[in-house]
Symmetry: C2
Subunit: 204 residues, 2 copies
């Protein structure tokens, strides 16, 4: 078998998610993932350090930090963070099927849920650092980054419960506006009350 396999990473990811959903994350071995993808274990380990890394790659964090750093300097801190979380939202929307299956795997395993929280905290810290590099002081850097993660997390949960609709970048933009209203002491706007839609989607 040659060193180069067409779309090996994508095939491994696909097989891993299928197996995690069928058998559970703990019960799945790397050998089984490789076999289902028609690849070797050696190829798996060229792409992932272990079976958990299939779920927690650092690519989303890199995208967010790069996006934040690329926002024009004159932009307000919240707008730089908004650009970062919208970019992440667009990436997840493009990979909607994978994101939904990944979340189903995580929802079934307490250890993976904890890992997800740690990942979000790590993204918040990386965004705060990127803000400080733009000259934003503390606590504004931490506060804006944490608020961005609060919006991202809430929009993401709503998106997952709505089975991918409305689109995630749109939810993120709405929730950023909603956070502004709420922190100013306002009451939630009717348009942001998605509980009925989400409930319908869950039971549908």
């Amino acid at each position: 078998m040659g060193r180069w396999e067409p779309n090996a990473r994508g095939r491994l990811e696909q097989s891993a998610l299928e197996l995690y959903l069928e058998r559970g994350f703990e019960q799945t071995t790397v050998a089984e993932i490789a076999k289902r993808a028609g690849l070797t274990e050696r190829t798996f380990f060229r792409h992932f350090a272990d079976k958990r890394e299939v779920l927690f790659s650092s690519s989303l964090q890199e995208l967010m930090v790069t996006t934040l750093a690329g926002v024009p300097e004159a932009a307000a801190p919240i707008d730089a963070v908004a650009a970062a979380i919208e970019a992440a939202g667009a990436r997840l929307q493009d990979r909607r099927d994978i994101a939904l299956r990944r979340q189903a795997v995580i929802a079934a395993n307490a250890g993976l849920q904890e890992r997800e929280l740690i990942k979000l905290a790590s993204i918040a810290a990386a965004m705060a650092e990127a803000l400080r590099e733009r000259g934003v002081g503390d606590p504004a850097a931490n506060l804006t980054a944490e608020a961005g993660i609060a919006v991202f997390k809430t929009a993401f949960e709503c998106w997952i419960n709505g089975i991918g609709q409305p689109e995630l970048p749109q939810l993120i933009r709405e929730f950023l506006d909603e956070l502004e209203t709420l922190t100013a002491g306002g009451n939630p706007s009717p348009s942001a009350r998605r509980d009925d839609a989400a409930t319908a989607a869950r039971s549908g």
Copy 2:
């Protein structure tokens, strides 16, 4: 030795924190904690399920949920959350020495840092639930609770780095205002730039 020991819980907490700082959390046994407090292991287990629970009791979360539920119904969601996190801040300020030592223990142990993140996520979920019970819909309930935790976390870190000054409830109030400014697209206010003070406190 009698069943009732004066302030047994406080003495056990004190001894546990001392030992965690001296020897490390992993290296400390319940037997050693009880011995230093002049109590029995049995007394320890009447107060705590295990040595980790000394650091992660649920009393702060209970205080926050009770406070939130007791805020007059006409209050805006963010004001109900503000009352909850300010109450938690006042409790920590009253127990400043214990809070600072507890944080030093947690900072030295990756597993405990993860547990702290999980605890904060649990508090956010509990506050969101308490908001829903007040009739606040989703996503406003989640968004306000998560934003409150963002403020609490950032103020708490600043307080720890400033070795307990300025007082935590005051930092929480300032950071709530700062969050409002930042989410409205403003730039950080000069008064909220505590980086110099925090740096001086850390190196002092």
